[in-house]
Amino acid sequence: MTTLVQTRPRLSPFTAEATFINRSFLHSVRDVEALLMAVVLPVMLMLMFTFIFGNAIDPSGGYVDYVVPGIILLCAGFGASSTAISVSRDMTTGIIDRFRTMPLRSGAVLTGHVVASLARNLFATGVVIAVALLVGFRPVASPLEWLGVFAIVGLYILAITYLFAAIGLAASTPDAASGYGFILLFLPYISSAFVPVETMPGWLQWIAENQPITPVIETIRGLLMHTPIGDSAWLAVVWCLGIIAVSVVWGAWLFRRKAGRR
């Protein structure tokens, strides 16, 4: 070997991000079971809500129109918690130490996980909507409003995925990381996702009205079914952007600070 020593060249912009996105995509498509779960579980939940609880809640049969936005957010929750597990696994296997001893922007690994999760989730959302249409979902949205639906869903997915990527960094083990995911599967129930907020006891109403999921749900529902949106749209955007900002800063800090734990 006659090569002389060299320093690492500076990477062209986004090379690291593109590489990590590619990596996370490979992870997504190779974990067939997780991918299947991410699609099948929300669909099953929707069918259960529509055909089992639906008639009890709304005997006229229109419950599917009410519940689709909630199912979409639940679906995003599954995706986000799987991101927390992937990130946490990176932290505990030691591969993160290899990345941390390279001159890479601290957020690049997380970006890979988040972008792959966004793609996975938007796909799952599409499947949920398609199945919903088959079982009687009748949205009245215009093409522009559909675009709005995907924009707000995408923003929400981005927000909670980034948050859970950071939680994955903070969690001590992948198992712990998956535990935190339950919060996301639980929060939609204390919102207007499945039943109107007015039907809850007073103190729950207060939580339901002041947590981020309710405005997101109301915005999606308003766009799809032309129910009143009111303040919900900008509240939803502010919540999501706020969560993203906090998570990005927190995540970058955790990434720099935490040595790989093994």
Binding site: V5, P9, D97
Partner: protein
């Protein structure tokens, strides 16, 4: 002589234990340096500080000319690390792992592929190139892990127990890789539990004990420190019965022989005595057992006594 690694007074405390208590290191560029020490001595901690993963509580360290605390990005551009546990992506194949690292090291797509193929060949992984790393054996993983650190010929390479879990052939392969790295100008900083490895490979060796460098030098210098020859008593089957280090004087040798007699161990049938040069193992055990190796006691026997089998 330029120093590739220059650490002064490094301290690191975890909870109530001082893992590093004023560590000094000076590693000349282009050499192979081995850091030895018992389990928990702080070898990995030292590597973590030198590779910017962990901040020292006190002291300074320069790697490839840059301060690890003040200019970590410049340090990172000049080092690579193969940590103690394998840092490979189990979901990806061997090739994909190497191509990913190549891209992250600034290689173009085709360049990264070519380099990946070269390294797979060199580490005997060509047949497993398209298999997921999750299906690799421990030794294969380790070899891939090492290959991932060698994509570029960087100024300083850190290897934390690189040959643990490797079979003899792979170990010797790696030794030759490490030698050729150093010949090409790379500084190799490694830790190891195999003293033979340090003996064969390293230009200089340091023994870490109680948070400080207890001894440092070439293998020969370290062996000279322990004093003179070692007297061994073996039974008919070649099994080691007693091993006594001496201070190298005639008086010391006689004292050792007398000691054997006193234990009445030398009279048994078939028992034979040999005198040999001290090995690095002797040095290591003597230093890390807490005694000071080069000070023989009055009877001419170096303390502590090294091995005695029943």
């Amino acid at each position: 002589m330029t120093l590739a690694i220059d650490a002064r007074g490094l301290r690191k405390r975890f909870g109530r234990t001082d893992v590093l208590a004023g560590l000094d290191l000076a590693v000349p560029a282009g050499t192979v340096f081995a850091l030895l020490g018992p389990n928990g001595a702080g070898k990995t901690t030292t590597i973590n500080i030198l590779t910017t993963l962990v901040q020292a509580d006190a002291g300074t360290a320069h790697v490839a000319g840059f301060d690890v605390a003040a200019e970590p990005e410049e340090v990172k551009r000049r080092i690579s690390l193969t940590g103690q546990s394998a840092a490979v992506d189990e979901v990806l194949t061997g090739t994909e792992n190497l191509v990913m690292m190549g891209r992250l090291s600034g290689l173009g797509r085709t360049e990264a592929r070519t380099r990946a193929a070269e390294l797979l060949e060199r580490f005997g992984l060509t047949d497993a190139a398209t298999r997921r790393v999750g299906t690799y054996s421990g030794g294969m993983r380790r070899r891939l892990d090492l290959a991932l650190s060698l994509i570029l010929a960087l100024p300083v390479v850190f290897l934390d127990e690189p040959t643990t879990g490797l079979d003899t052939r792979s170990r010797q392969e790696l030794w030759s890789v490490i030698r050729s790295l150093a010949d090409a100008g790379t500084t190799v900083f490694l830790t190891t539990q195999y003293l033979e490895e340090a003996d064969r490979l390293a230009d200089r060796i340091a023994v870490l004990d109680n948070g400080r460098i207890a001894a440092e030098g070439t293998a020969d210098e370290l062996k000279a420190r322990i004093g003179g020859d070692v007297v061994e008593l073996r039974d008919a089957g070649g099994e080691l019965l007693v091993e006594l280090p001496t201070d190298g004087t005639v008086h010391g040798l006689r004292a050792a022989i007398d000691e054997l007699d006193r234990r009445a161990a030398s009279g048994a049938p078939g028992v034979s005595v040999t005198i040999r040069r001290p090995s690095l193992d002797d040095v290591f055990l003597a230093i890390t057992a807490g005694g000071s190796p080069a000070t023989p006691s009055a009877d001419g026997l170096a303390r502590p006594e090294l091995i005695e089998s029943k």
